[in-house]
Point group: C2
Chain length 338, copies 2
């Protein structure tokens, strides 16, 4: 009896310790929605390198700036950009005051739900839609319109509010970086005042760390009260070569880490990578039609109007050591549970 009893006690202890260790590991893993693999490893190694005091790649907390594209990097951008869905809803809501829209493009296409015609409106038509839906009110009124829309609008495929369609692995990454002394910024081609009402709740990113495209605002007094009126004029396009410009304008420091998913993020990653010391540049690749969407045209996936990832971006990533995140292989879940 003695040996078996000893063995069983030992076994129980070993098994207990094993379970305890597993539980502790699972609890301590800051990136539980990431599968083990090269992407997750690259993130953890980078963070350890820049936060190890006395290490060769140590970066002072004040310079730990990480920038994130939004559409397609932090949340869903298909079948159309969330902000475009908002603009279409706004045009429909405002249509009763604009009878001429019934016969004028691009508004007619919106009111007729004519997706084929909408696909052809081009940049000029898109700007017209944005101005008609985003300008002509105060910043406070626009914030309320956006906030109200987020409360009711739902994604057509996932049937959930857009604010629930942040990628859970990226939310974990944002938190992991902040827990390690990083400041996390959004640097998006989307409208800054469309994003700010939701970024704190969805990503933990406060308004002052959201950089985006903007229209001009004008300071006015209305009945003795100062307001900022949103004007139908482009102020800044925070996309492509505009991203490093926006980063310099708003932050005044070069990021040490940058995350994107499309050709619009190329220059942000180039600018980030051109700094000295340890750097982390990553691109989310949408290769998961089952759980989300699959689009390229890189690697032979279908081309798209929204967030295209061209082959030459894939080639540049390979050439420059930017890491490509496979949604299908690197993420064990896409969204937080309901």
């Amino acid at each position: 009896m003695r040996i078996p009893r000893f063995t069983s006690i030992l076994s129980a202890g070993v098994i207990g310790a094993f379970f305890f260790a597993s539980a502790a590991l699972a609890q301590d893993d800051p990136l539980p929605s990431w599968n083990d693999g090269a992407s997750k490893q690259a993130i953890v190694e980078f963070v350890e390198a820049v936060t190890t005091d006395g290490g060769a790649d140590f970066v002072a907390p004040a310079d730990r700036i990480a920038t994130f594209d939004n559409d397609g990097t932090l949340w869903v951008e298909h079948p159309i950009y969330t902000q475009l869905a908002f603009a279409l809803d706004r045009v429909k809501a405002l249509a009763p005051d604009h009878p001429e829209w019934k016969t004028t493009q691009p508004f007619k296409a919106v009111l007729d739900n004519d997706m084929e015609a909408l696909g052809k409106i081009g940049e000029k038509g898109l700007v017209e839609l944005v101005m008609a839906s985003h300008a002509g009110m105060s910043t406070a009124d626009f914030e309320k319109i956006v906030t109200d829309w987020f409360k009711t609008a739902k994604h057509p495929r996932f049937d959930r509010p857009y604010t629930e369609l942040a990628y859970q692995p990226m939310v974990e990454l944002l938190e992991y970086l902040r827990d390690n002394g990083f400041m996390t910024y959004i640097v998006s081609g989307g409208g800054v005042e469309f994003m700010r009402p939701m970024t704190l709740e969805v990503y933990g990113i406060p308004a002052q760390q959201v950089i985006g495209s903007s229209i001009k605002t004008k300071y006015e007094e209305v009945n003795g009260t100062p307001v900022l009126m949103r004007e139908a004029e482009i102020d800044f396009i925070d996309d492509k070569a505009g991203k490093p410009v926006g980063i310099n304008k708003f932050i005044g420091k070069r990021p040490i880490a940058a995350f994107g998913n499309s050709a619009g993020d190329r220059q942000m990653l180039e600018w980030t990578g051109a700094g000295g010391g340890a750097r982390l540049m990553m691109l989310v690749f949408h290769d998961d039609a089952d759980r989300e969407y699959a689009y390229g045209p890189a690697n032979g996936l279908p081309d798209t109007h929204f967030g295209a990832f061209p082959q030459d971006l894939m080639d540049e990533a390979k050439d420059k050591g930017w890491r490509v995140i496979s949604m299908k292989d690197d993420w064990n879940r896409i969204f937080a549970d309901r």
Copy 2:
């Protein structure tokens, strides 16, 4: 003997306690360069009101935004703006490459040290000087030029580097606010890339919390390396009605406290004051010719080209409960000791 001894012990104790309390008070005073008076009291009462958890005026730390003008509010702006002194020095340094400047205004006035002609160059001439001295190089090169200039340039009257001419009472105020959970921002008509190289060292304010006027930058690759080139085109003028516009653009939140010293700060204080809850708006009034400068034209002081405080601003301050800081009466010292 007994009673006297007891008395003397008691006295020693009381006196000791008194000195101890005084020392503690002096040590605990976060604003030692401020004289006791209405200005200091208003600051302390405001900070206590917005930081008292459960109080009627409590403000969550995320919304404790305080904005500060720079020239004349945080540091000296006479006899001319520091950035103009920099521009004049740059024009002189670049003159050998521009022989035509010897006969062309506004450059001729600079090279001849003709202050009377300089006073007449107007806004167009000023923009020409700024573009000639601030554009045509990369952001990295400009940062180095500015940093080097600050190392050697000295103020003509005080014979000290400009970076030593921050107002010590305002530096204490910045620290006091930050110690109470505020984010402190500079919102200046001055050039953002002229200020950022010195704001952390001088004011404890990092680059991303500096808002200012800017010229456009353009992303380019030079010999395979990405650079941001500074172009001779105005991007944004962060002055007067531009200040609330800049605050909304960069911060996306309304400040609860704002500090200025001239007509250029009027709209920033109006915008701040128009929000709900406890607010603190203050204007520095330069009424101390002995220790610094005295200029208005408010209250009959001499008018000026640099940071004028007009009478109607003084009237608006009185009307709206903005507090006017008398440099002469409220500050027991102006600059930190050498």
